[in-house]
Amino acid sequence: MRHIIAMLLENEAGALSRVAGLFSARGYNIESLSVAPTEDPTLSRLTLVTTGSDEIIEQITKQLNKLIDVVRLMELTDGPHIERELLLVKVNAAGNAREEVKRLAEIFRGRIIDVTDKNYTVELTGDGEKLDAFIEALRPSGIVEVVRSGVSGIARGDRSLRVEKTSARATATQD
């Protein structure tokens, strides 16, 4: 089963390698991982996509919680959530492909953000399946380069992953 785990990490040097090291040391999969600072400069937010049985996912979340730099953790796939990924794709746009790629970008609601005689660069956001489908559709035109950001995710509704500022203590609200 595919799981998305979101984490708030202390924004410290080495915090990311503790997370990555845990996965390699214990033989867990990482499908994708994205990380960036939050509105609170002392925290970064990490979204990690992994697969495994329920027992393995339970171990993964427990092991992650054990890392001193992990402040708070939430399994997004436990409830309704939104996931998004950014794709940048450079694709051949010579001859017939020029029209075809433009048409496909429109269908998928992507944006062409860079143009040369030979290539288009297209930007697209969506969930993983949508990006996969777009890449498949472009394939016959000749893909030059694919860049994916990895999944970012957020829970729907009032469920949120955050740290209470007032109490310096970590909490997550679950309504």
Partner: protein
């Protein structure tokens, strides 16, 4: 007044109440060593190899419950401690290791004696820090001790670049600390306690299985009350010995690969298994698919990730063994339900039948010294009161089987990592922490050679350790596996070209003895124990062919335990009567 980073560090250690640091100097640590020179509150013990520093700090920690502290230089200094740090990590021992680092501006330049200490130790520490500002030293040291000693304890490394130890700052040591990302639980969840009590009291064939968590949580007394209140059998893991008095009739001995027949059969046939501060290690469970086929399991542990890691658990309780045992005992006393006396009676009859096989028996009528005999005599002559450290191998298992530990923190060994070389340096830490107590290091002629240089440290600080070298001229445990599982192909397990240990000990300024006949064992031990202020190295030339029994071969279930051929005549009942 502003102090240098090095002075701040030493003040932190003083204010933390550190008695001893075990260390070895070098370039990146020289400001720190200079600060040490200018004070006499914290005593520095100069080891002969940094592995010894980590193990000595570990022995100090295990025998006191306080954090052990090591100080080393950058590069090879810190890489030499890695084995010791990993050893402490596997057995949840609180260490604070301080390493010098090359100056900040040289980090990443492949500078002389540079290594990524934080990176290299990351997988075997509870946490580690690289200090980047002199103002952070005090808070980092406070955090290091806090993290090392609370929750599930473990080693913490603090890496400090040389320039930071020269920079100046005001000194203030924080009194308390709270971290938003680290809040270890202690109390068990009341709902889970209730469920556990119900399950515990419904048992017909209970077994209480406890590990090192009892020792680290200082919960031996609570465990004893709990076991006696119920009248249930209790077994300890290798790391848990001393958590329950071994001479108590409710104790059925050690569990696992070389545990007793009654402990292993009792666990296998149990219908309710109460695991406390233990982690279902493979050396304890044997083949998981064959583990406890009938048991419903309660598991108490301070580390949530230990629960349901290897074995599914019906009632998990996250909490400190001490707090949870108090809560369980209180709840059991408060309920009207009592343990099932009739079921317990027949269960004990069964256990006593297994026990009557006397699974640890060995041949006492030989010309050769039996290692078990040496340990029995050691137990007798020290009246069970000694601190015993060990290395890794057969001698370790025999010590665990034959020295009956009634008190916690007296049995000090590397169970998780299984580190040969642990015995002597850890004994140094124990002896320093308990200067007037007998400290025996039970070792083998292979293990002792892995940190034998520490004999020199023992001389410098007058540590009167009693070394019991069970010299079988083999890496005995390796030889045993080769005998059983490799058709007696003894590949590289013979210890050739051994030194004359008696004279070696004397060369280091200690007392050496060589004991070759069973009749001399007792006298030699008596004589050695009388030499209260001297280290005595006793080289016992033992039976080369002796094996450790019982044994559950890897991949087998508890009920597939192999008994000593010496017992061959006795009938073995592996089913429930």
């Amino acid at each position: 007044m502003e102090l240098s980073g090095a002075d701040i560090l030493i003040r932190c250690l003083q204010d933390e109440g550190v008695e001893y640091i075990f260390g070895y100097p070098g370039g990146a640590a020289l400001h720190i060593y200079d600060a040490l020179y200018r004070q006499d509150k914290v005593k520095h013990i100069l080891v002969r190899h940094e592995q010894g520093a980590a193990h000595a700090a570990d022995g100090y920690a295990r025998s006191t419950g306080k954090a052990g502290v090591a100080l080393v230089t950058s590069g090879p200094g810190v890489t030499n401690t890695v084995t010791g740090i990993a050893t402490a990590y596997m057995d949840s021992s609180p260490l604070v290791v301080i390493s010098g680092q090359v100056p900040s501006q040289l980090i990443g330049q492949d500078a002389f004696q540079e290594c990524d200490a934080v990176g290299i130790t990351r997988p075997c520490v509870k946490h580690n820090f690289l200090v980047k500002d002199v103002k952070d030293i005090a808070i980092t040291i406070k955090k290091a001790f806090y993290i090392a000693t609370t929750g599930r304890p473990g080693p913490v490394l603090v890496d400090i670049p040389k320039d930071i130890t020269a920079h100046k700052a005001e000194y203030a040591y924080p009194k308390t600390i709270s971290m938003r990302s680290y809040n270890p639980v202690t109390k068990g969840h009341p709902g889970q306690i209730k469920k556990a009590v119900e399950l515990i009291l419904s048992a017909k064939r209970p077994m209480i299985y406890t590990g090192g968590g009892i020792i680290w949580a200082e919960a031996a007394e609570e465990l004893t009350d709990f076991v006696r209140l119920l009248g249930y059998p209790c077994t300890n893991t290798l790391m848990g010995l001393g958590g329950y008095p071994a001479t108590d009739p409710l104790f059925v001995g050690m569990l696992g690969m070389h545990g007793t027949y009654e402990a292993n059969m009792g666990t296998h046939q149990s219908d309710v298994l109460i695991a406390i501060g233990a982690r279902f290690d493979d050396r304890v469970t044997g083949e998981l698919s064959k583990f406890c086929p009938h048991a419903r399991i309660v598991h108490v542990d301070i580390d949530p990730s230990s629960i349901a890691k290897n074995v599914p658990v019906e009632v998990p309780i996250v909490g400190s063994a001490k707090a949870v045992l108090q809560e369980l005992t209180k709840a059991i006393k408060a309920t009207k339900k009592k343990p099932d006396a009739a079921a317990l009676k027949s269960w004990w009859a069964q256990i006593n039948e297994w026990r009557a096989l006397n699974c640890l028996a060995y041949d006492r009528k030989t010309e050769l010294i039996k290692p078990q005999y040496v340990l029995e005599k050691l137990y007798e002559l020290t009246k069970g009161q000694a601190y015993v450290t060990s290395d890794v191998g057969q001698h370790q298992m025999w010590a665990a089987q034959f020295y009956k530990f009634d008190k916690p923190r007296h049995w000090i060994n590397s169970g998780g990592l299984g580190t040969m070389g642990f015995g002597l340096p850890s004994a140094m830490g124990v002896q320093l922490a308990h200067p007037n107590k007998t400290v025996a290091c039970v070792t083998g002629e292979a293990s002792i050679q892995m940190c034998i240089q520490e004999l020199s440290t023992c001389k410098q600080y007058d540590l009167p350790i009693k070394i019991i070298n069970l010299n079988n001229r083999y890496m005995g445990m390796v030889r045993q596996w080769q005998e059983f599982f490799y058709d007696k192909r003894y590949s590289h397990s013979y210890m050739d070209a051994l030194p004359d240990f008696e004279r070696l000990a004397e060369a280091y300024g200690h007392v050496g003895m060589k004991i070759e006949k069973p009749g001399d064992v007792e006298g030699a031990l008596k004589e050695a124990l009388k030499l209260k202020d001297r280290l005595v190295f006793m080289d016992f030339i033992t039976d080369q062919a002796e094996n450790v029994f019982p044994m559950i071969p890897a991949g087998k279930g508890h009920n597939e335990i192999i008994m000593s051929p010496f017992l061959a005549a006795a009938p073995i009942n592996r089913e429930l009567a």
